[in-house]
């Protein structure tokens, strides 16, 4: 037996299946998404508004409360230009992903930026959500296809520097 005939590695497939149920906060916000609304929650200790709400303020270690309407537009706090393909993303390269501080929320939200030249995306740029047709809405973030520039003036960094 020559060395090249040896089995040097094996492939071991693994598969685990789950049935996820989100907690009460995520339940509420996902249901609101199905109605085209963004509902965040507030920390009773530090008053930060979270969207999407996980149910917890990690800073304070307490459950978040209330229902806060969050706008579907906001400000780009940071962004990245993606130049590598991925099996489960069907977008033309390169494309732009961004953290967007939605108006009314204190933490950035992740989204795609489209309908503009990707190298014109900048920190402080104002963007708004582009939704799927209402007939296609479900209880998920997929309802928002992407964000696009609103054309409003940029927001100065000083105004959102506490929220990046």
């Amino acid at each position: 037996m020559s060395d090249s005939d040896r089995i040097e590695s094996i492939v071991t497939p693994t598969r685990t299946e789950y049935d996820y149920t989100p907690g009460p906060s995520a339940q509420r916000s996902l249901r609101a998404l199905a109605e085209g609304r963004l509902i965040g929650e507030t920390c009773p200790s530090c008053n930060q508004v979270y969207y999407p709400p996980s149910g917890t303020c990690a800073r304070c270690g307490v459950a978040t409360e209330g229902e806060v309407e969050i706008a579907d537009k906001g400000t780009v706090t940071t962004y990245a230009i993606v130049r590598v393909p991925s099996d489960n993303i069907d977008l033309e390269l390169p494309y732009c992903t961004a953290h967007i501080l939605l108006d009314g929320s204190d933490i950035p939200f992740f989204g795609l930026i489209q309908e503009c030249v990707w190298d014109e995306v900048r920190i402080g740029m104002r963007v708004e959500a582009v939704w799927l047709p209402e007939s296609e809405w479900g209880p998920g973030a997929e309802n928002i296809k992407y964000f696009r520039p609103t054309g409003e003036p940029d927001v100065p960094f000083e105004q959102f520097k506490e929220h990046i």
Partner: protein, 351 residues
């Protein structure tokens, strides 16, 4: 060695399928209760360590999310073991022994109901020769049970009696999941899940969390219950290859028990983490527990088996038993891996 005490213990009620709360939702009140009952102000807790498995949640770094429950800001000294919370307690105990801190919060959590636990447990096996066979949690345990039956060390009737006793005792445990009065004859009339194991021989799938606060030095004695001291703690491991072990005995439990000093004093009771009925006598033999020693005053893992914190819960339950004045000295045990592969033994004593 420093005197290290269990200052407090808190746990959820264990349920088959906690669909209304996330792990973090469960951890917020329980970690807070443990801290408050310890009497140690939260900012003074020197170290935090927890045990969990990302395979329970199906997310890499799911354990990091658990820290959200703590309000870890400014950042805290914190660590994690991908093991039962009992091993997180061991790490915290070592940290206290090193003199680095005087107190620690330890917790474990699992919401196994989201996945298919029986199959998920395949991922703990040797991935070369055993994993690809699809060996599941109940089949692994059944190989061990058959070995015991063949060796004449137990009967199926005795296995049923163990399940009946644990679940009867668990009626007094408000957080237990499977409790009640069962009849051995009726249980033995049930079909096998994986022969020779029937449903009653297997642990329930349990969602829940538990937490312990450890204290040393000036941190001892500030809580709302009497401190219970860890007089010895040790953990040992056997081979992962089932076929290279004698599955009817547990050398790692025996050695851990000797190193922890189980018989340095009277053993009044034991909280044993025996998820399957036939594993209880293996542990009793390995620990040299004579007849008359009270086993599992909480009802044990057959009454509730929150994966990744059932071992820590044994330590917490044993400490509570002593703190309540029901015993002066006892032992707690935690296990991990297929067929009692890895075992931790903790000797606990009141003041």
């Amino acid at each position: 060695m420093r005197d290290v005490a269990i200052a407090s213990f808190a746990q959820t009620k264990y349920v088959r399928n906690q669909i209304h709360e996330t792990e973090v939702d469960m951890l917020i009140p329980i970690t807070r209760e443990a801290i408050e009952r310890s009497g140690i102000p939260k900012p003074e807790i020197g170290f935090t360590c927890h045990g969990s498995s990302d395979y329970m949640a199906g997310q890499s770094f799911a354990f990091v999310g658990a820290v959200d429950a703590l309000g870890a800001f400014p950042p805290i000294a914190e660590s994690h073991v991908e093991m039962d919370g009992a091993w997180a307690l061991y790490e915290a105990w070592v940290k206290i022994q090193c003199g680095e801190v005087d107190s620690a919060l330890v917790f474990g959590f699992g919401r196994a109901s989201m996945g298919k636990l029986r199959e998920t447990m395949n991922l703990q096996l040797d991935p070369y020769t055993m994993g690809p066979l699809g060996l599941d949690a109940i089949s692994m345990a059944a190989l061990q049970a058959r070995a015991l039956l063949d060796a004449g060390k137990i009967s199926e009737e005795q296995m049923a009696e163990i399940a009946v006793r644990n679940r009867r005792v668990a009626k007094d445990n408000p957080v237990a999941q499977v409790t009640g009065d069962f009849e051995v004859a009726k249980l033995l009339a049930e079909p096998y899940i994986v022969s020779p194991l029937r449903k009653h021989d297997c642990p329930p799938i349990s969602d829940g969390v538990s937490a312990v606060v450890l204290a040393a030095g000036d941190a001892i004695g500030r809580g709302d219950s009497k401190p219970v001291f860890i007089r010895g703690i040790d953990h040992r491991i056997d081979s992962h290859q089932l076929g290279s072990r004698d599955l009817t005995v547990s050398p790692s439990t025996k050695l851990a028990g000797e190193k922890a000093g189980v018989h340095a004093g009277p053993v009044e009771f034991a909280e044993l983490h025996a998820p399957f009925s036939h594993q209880e006598p293996i542990l009793c033999e390995a620990l040299g527990l004579e007849e008359g020693v009270l086993i599992n005053p909480s009802g044990g893992a057959l009454a509730a088996n929150p994966m990744m914190t059932a071992g820590l819960t044994r330590i917490g339950e044993a400490a509570s038993h002593i703190a309540a004045g029901r015993a002066g000295r006892g032992i707690a045990h935690a296990t991990s891996g297929p067929c009692l592969q890895q075992n931790l033994v903790c000797v606990l004593e009141g003041e």
